[in-house]
Amino acid sequence: MAKLKKSPWLLHYDGSSCNGCDIEVLAALTPVYDAERFGVMNTGDPLQADIFLITGGINTQNKDVVKQLYDQMPRPKVVVAVGVCACTGGVFKDCYNILGGADSVIPVDIYVPGCAARPQAIIDGVVQAVELLEKRSEEHKAMKKNKKKGA
């Protein structure tokens, strides 16, 4: 635990989910599961977020929004798809307006299955995301150093 990055801030975006997964994401922040003990904070601001939690599939209207949010997040960042809808499109897959899972527009790092995904699974996904974030931040540091040397 000591090596994990200690302050992952979440950005939670509801794609075209049925809201089931969103309720579970919020449940993870309630006193019962208390994600804040890991330093997790739910921020509404992409500029300040480290982990992008996305629920629900991508449709023709929100694909630009999701891309935009992803681009606004500073590196290092990790994307977590919560629920089968965000993973593959789920029960809505064959709808006329659904393009597929979150990975149809942005690179997804961690897939949390379930319909709806359970809070335990979501926290587990976030903890894995934090590990990945740690790795990414090393890469980011190395990249910054290289840039400085190059300049």
Binding site: K6, S7, P31, R75, P76
Partner: protein, 289 residues
Amino acid sequence: MNMILRIVGYIVLAPIIGGLLEGIDRKISAKMQRRVGPPILQPFYDVKKLFNKQVILVSRSQTFALISYLALMILTGAMFYAGMDILMCFFVMSTAATALYFAAMVTSSPYATMGANRELIQMMAYEPAVLLSCVGFYLAEGTFNVNEIAGSGKLDIIFLPGFFVAFVFILTIKMRKSPFDIATSHHMHQELVKGLTTEMGARNLAIFQVTEWYENVFLMGVVGLFFINGSYISVIYAIVAILLVYFLEILIDNTSARMKWENMLKITWIVTLFTAGVNLLVLMLVRVA
């Protein structure tokens, strides 16, 4: 020499104390909500992380405005702990707040702009109480000089209970606590997103955070000034008072929902005028008699 030592002490220790206070704040808040809560050092982890993130700037001048905010706030606190004029300290603090306003305004983001405008309204709400407190100190001690007020041998709180109530009341605004956290929202997903700080990310948000710590330590110093009279035992009174006030702020934060700015302005002015005003009248009468 002593003065330089105190200034250096403030510059070095204030962020540490401010960060710890915020950590304890978050822990106590969590306990009040029956959660485990983050570790006490969490605010430091947050700031360290923010410094290591990629810097995306909406506007370059934001960094400049934020650094001015930090520098002016350090100046405020340093002047206060060095024992200079208290009125001057509060003027510099207002200038610092203006720098923060510009830091949010330059981004021209709707949320940040709205937050910045509300910050100005907040200033309007707390400024009377702040100035009246200075007047109170002057009436009680005959001086604005912090050193002389602290070393006079008089226990100011006995003369200034009304001013103290008014000052503690506006602390809720200055510390950005609910119900008066109208310029920024500490909790996610409110109508302002993050208000004033919406367009601050990475390094800039870290600067903002550290400045808040400096500010809190300065404000707590003013709370302490009501209790200090130069003797050693009064320092203990001051520390107890500061901790109690801080706890009160956390309690208020956790038990109230945020207000509309109109109500905030009304309530703070009424409370200020009533408590500080009555206290002022009594002090004047005593002086005349």
